[in-house]
């Protein structure tokens, strides 16, 4: 077989490098990647359509479950749009608590990314240590908001839980420990030679390409574009907090690592300012169940980049249209550019470098297939349907099914 034509290898949708389903078709010559094409949509669950069938309060929890890592970004973005349409002015303390939880989420998301990046380049020890330190911030989130991941702290018109002084103390201690852990990781990333070899010069994205391909968040900032929604279009309490927008001129995965770690340090200083400046007062305001006619575009600086929600209300309890554009959807365009004439070994770290969150990107369509009116497929009918599906393909599970059913029904 002459080796002229390229070998086409599929990466994904199930692949150890990709934590979530997306598929790249890579054509390889030897170890060099010559072309890459992306296919998304595997994680599509129809959330935008489902939002139109639920009330605003129920939507809150549906939107929050778009993504496991940046759940607070989506729920805050959605709630801000709804409050803007309804003209609700939420109390100052609620804005501060939202910012606090947003920054805590940025810390746990960036630490998680650092570990995954380490794993992608075979540095499992870094994964183990970063994820051990991440537990500190996860415990803080669990004790302040009631859950480690889907915090559910937002409600229309404010927040559901207050931060008492004893929790403030815990947060300050945790931020202190995390700060010098991050300093250690920064010194590690800037001097550990195997890490630097694997990260620098990989996934190059020049400033013009980043602008043209619409990259957002740390990917854009690592190519020198100083764009941060918290600074350009301040929301929640960011207007009266001072922090720096971290940019870097490396334009490669190494630059993105430094930008993310710089942002971690900024988050610690933001949290300290919030704990100091948080005003007293109520944490929520009475809000109507029916939102008047109107539309709003709200933007949020999620850990991965600019997250944008568009909500249109038609005066009823249910939104007329909810559009979610997650940051990864903007960054995914740049991946094929970054992959050009790279080694195959760089593919996982280049994909991981934009910190893809495909559950955000594919917001899904029909969640439940109902027959006749609006009821869900019951568990039994789903089982029968799958038995039929297999029978069409010549495999009969009916006896096995009978045995399983008896065991369940007897108990």
């Amino acid at each position: 077989m002459r080796y002229s034509k390229d070998v086409k290898i599929p990466i994904g949708p199930q692949h150890p490098a990709l934590k979530e389903p997306e598929s790249f078709l890579i054509s390889l010559r030897g170890e060099k990647i010559t072309a890459a094409s992306v296919r998304l949509g595997y994680n599509h669950r129809g959330i935008e359509k489902a939002c139109e069938e639920r009330t605003y309060i129920q939507d809150l929890y549906l939107i929050e479950r778009i993504c496991g890592i940046c759940s607070h970004s989506h729920s805050t973005c959605f709630v801000q749009a709804v409050e803007e349409i309804a003209g609700i002015e939420i109390p100052a303390r609620a804005r501060y608590v939202r910012t606090l939880i947003g920054e805590l989420e940025r810390i746990h998301s960036h630490l998680l990314w650092l570990g995954v990046a380490g794993h992608e380049i075979g540095f499992d020890t870094l994964l183990m240590y970063t994820w051990r330190d991440r537990e500190i911030v996860m415990d803080i989130l669990a004790s302040t908001t009631g859950n480690r991941v889907n915090y559910g702290i937002n409600t229309i018109g404010g927040v559901r839980r207050d931060i008492n002084p004893q929790q403030n103390q815990q947060i300050l201690e945790a931020v202190g420990i995390l700060e010098d852990r991050t300093k250690y990781y920064i010194s590690l990333a800037t001097s550990e030679s195997t890490l630097i070899n694997r990260l620098s010069g990989v996934g190059l994205l020049s400033m013009e390409d980043a602008k043209q391909l619409g990259a957002v968040g740390p990917v854009a900032r690592a190519s020198g574009i100083a764009r941060d929604v918290r600074k350009d279009d301040p929301y929640a309490a960011y207007a009266d907090l001072d922090f720096k927008v971290i940019t870097d001129s490396h334009c490669d995965v190494y630059g993105r690592t430094l930008v993310r770690m710089g942002e971690l340090m900024q988050s610690y200083s933001i949290i300290r300012q919030i704990i100091q400046k948080i005003p007293g007062g109520p944490i929520t305001v009475k809000s109507p169940r029916k939102i008047p006619v109107g539309e709003a575009v709200s933007r949020y600086e999620a850990p991965r980049g600019e997250d944008m929600h568009y909500v249109r209300a038609n005066g009823t309890e249910k939104p007329d249209r909810v559009k979610v554009r997650a940051p990864t959807l903007a960054n995914i365009q740049a991946v094929s550019k970054m992959l050009e004439d790279r080694y195959l070994a760089d593919l996982p770290i280049v994909i991981a470098a934009i910190d893809p969150c495909f559950s955000c990107t594919d917001r899904t369509i029909a969640v439940n297939m109902s027959d006749g009116n609006k009821n869900t497929l019951t568990w039994q009918s789903l089982r029968l349907q799958s038995l039929q599906w297999y029978r069409d393909r010549g495999v009969d599970f009916t006896e096995l099914n009978k045995k399983v059913m008896e065991r369940f029904s007897t108990k």
Partner: protein, 159 residues
């Protein structure tokens, strides 16, 4: 005279048809209804002369009798200008904005898949976001499309 008002005034001077169609909802948010025939000209003007250099998203909506497509442009990440055009439902087709923004490609594929709006100038490529087995005439985000009444192939495509 804030920056938003300057933009609004500049738009209204340049294009008579936008006379009172440009609305400033709040700081840094401008909404504008654009007639479809003048859309290309206005879009080129905002992107080239007024330096709205990034497109955040393209939202497609089914508003009862016609489709509305909204282009969210922003200027240095600060001011968001939303251009809205309406397309009639029988043969909905719009022009692609890929010449201005390469990243609009995936947003336009999403509209074609979910709402069935044809986009001229969109190069062939992978479908997004629906699975390949999904029948081509089923567009889930249309108001009349209910999960329950979908035909058998849709269900098979999903199973």
């Amino acid at each position: 005279m804030t920056e938003e008002e300057k933009i609004k005034q500049e738009l209204e001077e340049k294009f008579g048809c936008l006379k009172d169609k440009v609305v400033i909802k709040r700081e840094r948010r401008i909404f504008a209804d654009v007639p479809i025939e003048k859309f290309d000209e206005i879009f080129a003007f905002t992107v080239k002369q007024m330096h709205f250099d990034a497109i955040s998203a393209i939202t497609g909506m089914d508003s009862g009798d016609l489709f509305t497509v909204m282009y969210h442009l922003n200027k240095e990440g600060r001011i968001v200008l939303n251009l809205t055009i309406s397309v009639n439902k029988n043969n909905p087709s719009i022009k692609s904005v890929i010449p201005y923004f390469a990243s609009a490609d995936i947003y336009e594929r999403e509209i074609t898949d979910l709402l069935g709006i044809q986009v001229e100038g969109l190069p062939a490529g992978n479908r997004y976001p629906l699975p390949d087995g999904w029948p081509t005439n089923e567009h889930p985000l249309r108001k009349d499309w209910k999960a329950s009444q979908s035909k058998k192939e849709v269900r098979n495509a999903l199973l």
